[in-house]
Structure formats: structure tokens, C-alpha cells
Symmetry: C2
Subunit: 227 residues, 2 copies
């Protein structure tokens, strides 16, 4: 079976460690940090607490490892930015990607748990922010600066612009997801509609209409029949 194949390369200890961290991640995301005991993790993994403690010196360290591993998830949808396409396409693609993640059950659970624990463990919150949201903001800022240099946008302060856009995209969805655990997140359709509105507002301010006046028109026109 696969175990045999894996065993070829990965030593026993390493393998067990990975299994454990997987199980722990699953449970932390499911039930939060405080409500998941080491005993429960060990049980579900078919392990003993001692094994758990041999691999992770404390519950906190275990959680830190999981956060580190997952924070990047938030910075996932940056393919659009990397491609350096037109502002409209880049922004809507990025916006939809970000919003999707913010609304995803797992991500919001992780975020909630990080918030809970960052009071007790400040480095944790910092780590999360630096590896997650900050990365997205930085990449968007870079893109906006490049687009401005190319003359596609007119913005003197790309950092502020990026913050405005990301804020508008997340709007109160983020908060609701965080606080109202039984809130029914918007449909994919609504998400697209919201992001479109955000993009439209952003471009109304920052797009340089120089290159060709019709660009806007096209964009507008296109959104019209859609809804």
C-alpha cells in the first residue's frame, strides 16, 4: 500500500509527525484551540499523548506550526496579480479569490482561532498577519504601482489604493463570518456582483481614461446585461 511506498523515503518518526499535525489541524479548525485537548488529538490519531509531546513540545507550538502552514492560504489567489493583466481583470479575479477565501469555512475558522489565541500568544497573530493578509496587500500594491507606471492607472499612493480596494471587497463579510457563526454566506453570484461593484468604484477613481475612453464604456456595457 501507500504506506510501504512512503516508508521507503520517510522515516517512521517523520511520517507519524505529519499524520499528527494533519489530525491536529483538522481538529483545531473544527473545534478551535481551547476546545481541543491534546488527549482528543491523540485519540483521534490513534496515538498516545506521550508521542504527541515527543513531537511537539507544547500545545501552543503545535498550533503555531499549523498556523504557519495555513496562513499562506490567504495569500493564495495572487495568480491574477502575477499575470499583470488589465486592471479590471486583475482586480476582479483577485477580489473574487480573496472573498472566496474569507468566506470559506476553514479559513474563517482558522482566523477566528488565531484571533482568540493571539491575545495569549502575540507572536501568533503577527505571524499570521505577516504571512497572510500582508502578502496579499503587498502584491496588490506592487501591481498597482506597475500598472500606474504603465499608464493604465493613475494613483500616486498605491498602498492606500490597495487597502481601499481590499477593504471594499471584504466589506463586512469578513466581520460577519468571524462573529456570526451561523450566518449564511452569500452565493457565488452575489460575491461576483459585490466584487464587480468594488472594482467599478475603484476604477472610477483610479483608472486613467487616457489610453482610450472606450475602455470604461466596454466594461460598463458588459456589466449591464449581466445583471
Amino acid at each position: 500500500m501507500t504506506t510501504a511506498v512512503c516508508a521507503r523515503k520517510v522515516p517512521r518518526g517523520e511520517r507519524r509527525r505529519m499524520e499528527l499535525v494533519d489530525i491536529a489541524e483538522q481538529m483545531f479548525l473544527e473545534r478551535g484551540f481551547a476546545d481541543t485537548s491534546m488527549q482528543m488529538i491523540a485519540e483521534r490519531a490513534g496515538a498516545s499523548k506521550e508521542t504527541l509531546y515527543r513531537h511537539f513540545s507544547s500545545k501552543e507550538l503545535l498550533f503555531v506550526e499549523i498556523v504557519t502552514r495555513n496562513a499562506l492560504l490567504v495569500s493564495g489567489p495572487d495568480a491574477a496579480v502575477a499575470r499583470d493583466g488589465s486592471p479590471e481583470s486583475v482586480l476582479s479575479e483577485l477580489g473574487i479569490g480573496v472573498l472566496r477565501i474569507v468566506l470559506a469555512a476553514n479559513a474563517s475558522r482558522l482566523f477566528r482561532t488565531v484571533v482568540s489565541e493571539s491575545a495569549r500568544t502575540p507572536e501568533l497573530g503577527d505571524l499570521f498577519y505577516q504571512r497572510g493578509p500582508a502578502v496579499v496587500a503587498a502584491r496588490l500594491t506592487d501591481y498597482l504601482a506597475r500598472a500606474a507606471k504603465r499608464g493604465e492607472l493613475r494613483c500616486e499612493d498605491p498602498q492606500t489604493a490597495a487597502r481601499l480596494f481590499l477593504g471594499a471587497v471584504m466589506s463586512n463579510y469578513h466581520v460577519r463570518r468571524l462573529v456570526q457563526s451561523d450566518w449564511k454566506p452569500p452565493s457565488e453570484k452575489e460575491v461576483r456582483r459585490h466584487v464587480e461593484a468594488a472594482v467599478s468604484m475603484f476604477l472610477a477613481q483610479y483608472e486613467s481614461r487616457r489610453p482610450a475612453g472606450r475602455k470604461r464604456l466596454a466594461c460598463r456595457r458588459q456589466s449591464l446585461p449581466a445583471w
Copy 2:
């Protein structure tokens, strides 16, 4: 002393109860819910746990009372909206007010604590959202609708518009405050500058240029001379 004066009207039990809830609030905001034990609250109040439990049937109920009392704080800065001034003045006043609260130490601590506990007590998060953020959003939505009716703004979907604006105003400040406990919040100057940028972006999209002006075109035109 004041005690004598107070005693005149407020019966002993009621007085003690208020003292207790004040102390508890202070401690919950300082150290969070989980890290504050009933014993500690009683001690700092110079009370016994029994007295505490005579007034509040459980720790959770005590916290709920405190959240209820504080959530309205978030909806405080709506005087601007009530006055029905020009969009620009209303938006910037509201924006600054909201952002100030979001950045305030106490409010962000409360929010963090609510997030932590809302996993265990869903009604709590709901309560907070309904009495806090939702109120602000609703009031702004109403204002935008009125302004649109007056012809000052052109927006067909005031709810989305309100969300976009509030999101842009809070941007990532909210999240950072929540997660990076040692983050140094921006200066008053930066706050004003950010809100100004948000207002400008919002108006670029939603301000009605001229009565005759057709939708998008007019709006685009307007942003040109601005920068």
C-alpha cells in the same frame, strides 16, 4: 460621601451589582473572557464569589450583559448621518468616527473577546453584530437612499454602496488591530487622510454629476480633474 448620596435612592443590592459589572467589564476587556476567572473578579471587587453568583447566574450571562452594554458603542458616531448634510461631509465624519472606534484599544479588545467567545456562544456574536456594526451599516444605507432620492447621489443599491464605503474605511486596520496586539495604530492625521481617500473614491463612483448626466459617463468624467 458619594456613597451616602447614592444610597439614598439605589438599594444596596442594585448598587453592588453595578459595581460588580463595572469591575467585570474592566477585567474582561483587559484580559479577555477565558483568562479572567470569577474568583479574580470577586477579589478585585472585594466581594465573594457567592455574591457574584447571586447577581449573575453564570459567567457567560455576566459577559453577555457587558457585551450588550458596549456593542452600541460601535454604533456611536452616527450623528453625522442623522444631520443629513452633504455626502462628502457626512461620509468623512462618519468614516473618521468609525475608524476611531475600530482603532480604540477598548473596542478592539471587546471585539476580540467577542470573536473568541462567539464560537462557544453563538448568540453572543449575533447580539454584538446586530447591535454594533449592523446598526452603522443600516443607518448609512438609509442616508444614502435619502441622498439618492434628493439627487445628491446616484446609487441604485445603497446597501452595497454602504458596505463598500465602510469596508474601504476600515480596510485592513480592523484586522490588524484584531490580530497584531502590539501594532501601533495610525495617527489621527493618517486616519483623516485614509478616510479622505475612501470618500473620494466613493464619490467618484456614486456622486451624481449633473442632473442630466448619464450614469457611468458622468461619474468617470468627475474623477479626472480631481487628481
